[in-house]
Symmetry: C2
Subunit: 220 residues, 2 copies
């Protein structure tokens, strides 16, 4: 998603997203908005990616949920700085929530900030958070028709992760059909097929993140 | 969910939900609002339940999606009367949409009407559609923590279906923990563990529906 440095102020959210973006660029923090259905594996992806990038990049996390802090506790246990946002029922994160969370993070110690959005394939798409990139995590048990049924999110993202590849032997899922649907909506987004259980496919995803961080530093 | 026949008019949605409810009761149609994450298996549950209830109850379906008609086509292929609602981006069905769909269905030929809501664990909860009952479909690969993270929907429903039991050997899922979380939020809702792939557990769920239809006829 190419975002101009100067833009019209379209709304309070967009204005605050711009402030988040400037702040993150200024501190040399690359940020990724992670969106998905409930249970697609957003937190597992963050935890596995942290292992994969250990010694290469310093990670931080903002966890978004309508309730609970179970994900933030898992991330904290893995040694990453983390802030939990409880939206109190709202079905997506927005730029003001993220701006408040940024105040609580040691940004000078973070190279790559993951923002785990609320589990929802619809509402988060319309709210720019000020991140460098946004991705959607889909998963094998959800079925290969998700891009067809939720086209907005697949069209909007910079990359697609297809998680739970280890379950492919047990459920019907046409990977070529899925890739075709994604390509029809979004010709540029790479698709990373992987399993956070087995680690298969994690390396290519991690490489993409390393390159994203490098590009983000060129913007700063 | 016990709904009084006469209620205060709280909003346009509630008023139209009341009209839907009266219309369905008058035509002796029992209706169920099916909510779930994307890919939990709402359509599969409808198709499997239709097989289970063949010769016992006549089914009809309203399919809700933000885009596409792939689910409605599957249901029509199974021989059920079906109307597709495309919300055009809205993250939930509402009573006016359902009211318009009811006009297109042969209600006198339907005993049990399934309304498949948009895939979303958050937004649909606040919109009464006028149905006799509402349920949530959760699934094994989504993880056992969903009631903890999306408490509103589990607290609101009349029954919980836990689908994809056939995947239990391949993913970590603590069924006792899941049952405990649901019971803590909703002491009355039965939990039906089942697999739409193997058919395991479908009979108990179908029995509950038959009893629901009988209770609905007593209301009429």
């Amino acid at each position: 998603m190419k975002v101009p440095v100067v833009r019209n102020i379209l709304s309070a959210n967009d204005r605050l997203a711009g402030e988040n973006r400037q702040k993150l660029l200024g501190r040399r923090v690359c940020s990724v908005n992670i969106m998905a259905s409930p249970g697609a594996g957003k937190t597992s992806l963050i935890l596995r990616t942290a292992e994969e990038l250990k010694g290469k990049l310093r990670l931080g996390v903002i966890e978004g949920d309508i309730a609970s802090r179970v994900d933030a506790d898992k991330v904290a246990a893995a040694g990453m700085p983390v802030v939990q946002i409880n939206t109190g029922g709202t079905c997506h994160l927005d730029a003001p929530m993220v701006g408040a969370a940024l105040e609580q993070l040691p940004l000078e110690e973070i190279d790559l900030l993951f923002i785990e959005n609320v589990g929802n394939l619809i509402c988060p798409v319309d709210f720019d958070l000020g991140t460098k990139a946004s991705i959607v995590v889909s998963s094998i048990p959800e079925g290969d028709d998700k891009p067809y049924k939720y086209p907005g999110i697949f069209a909007a993202v910079d990359a697609v992760v297809l998680n739970k590849l280890d379950l492919a032997p047990y459920v019907p899922f046409d990977r070529a059909a899925f890739r075709g649907l994604v390509a029809g909506l979004n010709a540029k987004a790479p698709i990373f097929e992987l399993s956070c259980s087995t680690g298969e496919g994690l390396a290519a995803w991690a490489e993409w993140l390393v390159a994203l961080v490098a590009r983000s530093r060129e913007d700063a």
